[in-house]
Structure formats: structure tokens, C-alpha cells
């Protein structure tokens, strides 16, 4: 089985198991305030890490290239409360422009 298929099947199985878990455990389980608090912070750190790595990493090297300009534009667009599709398209257009100009 290819790594891609392994990723697809493993993620799908784990995602459903986690969803079902909430319906299967006693109510007071997992409801500790510290678990709740940590849970709201997990997406913040993981998504932020993904932003950084996807923008500046090429395999295990760091590089500033066309993607960085795209991210700058995305940040400005979000500051101005642009909706999600606008943010993504502006970042893509900027990056493509820089890519072709280089």
C-alpha cells in the first residue's frame, strides 16, 4: 500500500473513532477544565506550525521564496477582515506572480 493510501485510510479511521468516542464515554469523562483548555489550544499551535512549515520549508531546509510573499498578502487580507476565499486566492495570485517574475 502506498504512503498516500495509508495516510488516507489511517486518518479516516482515527477521525471516526475520535468522533464516536465522544458518544461512547461517560459524561464526566474528558470534561476536566484542563483537558478542555488544552483542546482549544491544540488547533492554534498545530495550524500555526503548518503555516510556518508550508511557507518556509523545502524538505528539511528553510527558504524564503515566492510563498512568503503570498503569506504576507494573506496576513494583510485577514487584517482587513477579507473572507476566506479572497484570502486564499490573493495569496495564490501573489505567489504565482512572484514565481513567474523570478
Amino acid at each position: 500500500m502506498s504512503a498516500m493510501w495509508l495516510g488516507v485510510i489511517g486518518t479516516s479511521a482515527a477521525a471516526y473513532a475520535l468522533k464516536l468516542l465522544g458518544y461512547s464515554v461517560p459524561q464526566n469523562f474528558l470534561s476536566h477544565p484542563r483537558v478542555q483548555r488544552t483542546n482549544t489550544l491544540i488547533p492554534i499551535v498545530l495550524l500555526s506550525a503548518l503555516v510556518a512549515v508550508q511557507t518556509f520549508a523545502v524538505k528539511s531546509k528553510l527558504e524564503i521564496d515566492h510563498r512568503a510573499m503570498g503569506l504576507v498578502v494573506a496576513t494583510v487580507a485577514l487584517k482587513f477582515r477579507a473572507p476566506f476565499p479572497v484570502v486564499v486566492v490573493l495569496a495564490g495570485l501573489t505567489s504565482a506572480l512572484v514565481y513567474h517574475l523570478r
Binding site: A3, G10, T11
Partner: protein, 224 residues
């Protein structure tokens, strides 16, 4: 025939607008997934079966930056844990059994739980209606738009030439932005970025991302 009440109308409106908005993220996911090297079929299976946006984005993000399948699954699962907590919250409200409970679990995501909880003032019937309409509505549009995005990206070819390689981190930024509601959140976000980049030359791809979960653990589990 009973007339549809004003409350029900507002629940329907909320559910529909959320479902359609999420569609836009579906296009971004389909495109990102294909740009990361997944096939159109694999992208669609992720949306149909995993059906949890942040987890799906995380898997393709980690694997496209060279991470192993295991690193991708681990990151996606850390993000998917919040669905367990949503299920815990929704379970006593939905009171479902058997097959319907299995279906409820599948559509237990940010949006369905969010709309359900926002209907609290209208009572449990409205909460249940909001949950099911949003869950099934998002499921429909998320999958249709994933297919559209995946086919579109397939037709484009070289991701960098079309800016897709920057659209993906921009999508992650768009996902995290609304979650940054306090100075602590923003500090944590910047710290996670710095830590992930610092670890990138040192650890195999994917692990620098997972490592930032310890930041969340350290902050979230301390005494207050």
C-alpha cells in the same frame, strides 16, 4: 399542515449559510490535496470518510512537506480530538441510538456543533434541527466542492505556477486566524511557528509540527 415557525426558519437559515460558506474551504482542500500529490479519488475519500476539515488539511500538509503517513495521521488525530469533546456535548441533547447514533458521530464537527449550541435559546428541538441540518448540509457541500477543487487543481498542473503552494499555508492561516482571540493565543501561535521552523532542519519532516502540541499541553495543563 403546521406553519414553519420563525424559530425553525432562523435555524434553517443559519444551517444553510454555514453549509455554503464551508463549501469554499472544500474547494481549497480539494486543490491543496491534489497539489500535495494525492489523487482526486483519495481527496474525495478524505472528505467523505474523514470529514473534518482541519484534520484533512493537516494530513495533506504534513505529507506534502515530506512527512511520513504516520506523522500525518498523528497530526490529523490531535486535531480530530476536539470532535470527541463535541460528541460529549451533543450526546445528551441528541439522545440517538443505533445507526442514527453512528451517523450523528460522523457529522459531529465544528460547524454542526457550533450551530446546535447557538440555537440553545430556542430549545433542544431547535438544537437538534440545527445539528442535523448543518451536519448534513456541510457534508453535501464539502464533498461537492472538494471534487470541484481536486479536478480543478488536476487540470492546472505545476502547483507553484498557479500559486497553489502558497494558497495552502494561506488556508491554514485563514483557519487559525479566528481562533486567536487573546494575547495568549497570539503568543502561542508565534511560538509554535518559531518552534516548528527551528526544529525543521533537525527532525524528520512532520515531527516539527507535532512537537508544537507540547506547547499547547504545557500551557493548557498548568494550574490556574
Amino acid at each position: 399542515m403546521p406553519v414553519v415557525s420563525a424559530t425553525a426558519k432562523s435555524t434553517i437559515r443559519d444551517s444553510l449559510s454555514v453549509s455554503l460558506t464551508v463549501g469554499a474551504y472544500g474547494i481549497a482542500f480539494g486543490a491543496a490535496s491534489v497539489a500535495a500529490g494525492f489523487s482526486v479519488l483519495q481527496s474525495c475519500i478524505l472528505s467523505l470518510v474523514t470529514f473534518s476539515g482541519a484534520s484533512q488539511f493537516a494530513l495533506v500538509g504534513v505529507m506534502s512537506s515530506g512527512g511520513t503517513a504516520l506523522a500525518g495521521i498523528a497530526t490529523a488525530s490531535l486535531l480530530g480530538f476536539r470532535n470527541s469533546l463535541y460528541g460529549l456535548r451533543m450526546s445528551p441533547i441528541l439522545k440517538t441510538k443505533g445507526l442514527k447514533r453512528l451517523l450523528a458521530a460522523h457529522v459531529t464537527i465544528d460547524e454542526s456543533t457550533g450551530v446546535a449550541l447557538s440555537q440553545e435559546k430556542h430549545g433542544q428541538d431547535a438544537m437538534r434541527a440545527g445539528f442535523w441540518m448543518t451536519g448534513l448540509g456541510v457534508f453535501l457541500f464539502w464533498n461537492l466542492f472538494t471534487l470541484a477543487g481536486a479536478i480543478g487543481a488536476k487540470a492546472m498542473g505545476n502547483p507553484a505556477s498557479w500559486g497553489l503552494d502558497a494558497a495552502v499555508p494561506a488556508a491554514f492561516l485563514g483557519l487559525v486566524w479566528p481562533r486567536l482571540t487573546s494575547p495568549l493565543d497570539r503568543t502561542l501561535a508565534i511560538s509554535a511557528m518559531a518552534l516548528a521552523l527551528a526544529l525543521t532542519p533537525l527532525l524528520p519532516a512532520g515531527l516539527p509540527i507535532i512537537a508544537t502540541a507540547f506547547l499547547a499541553l504545557a500551557v493548557g495543563m498548568r494550574k490556574q
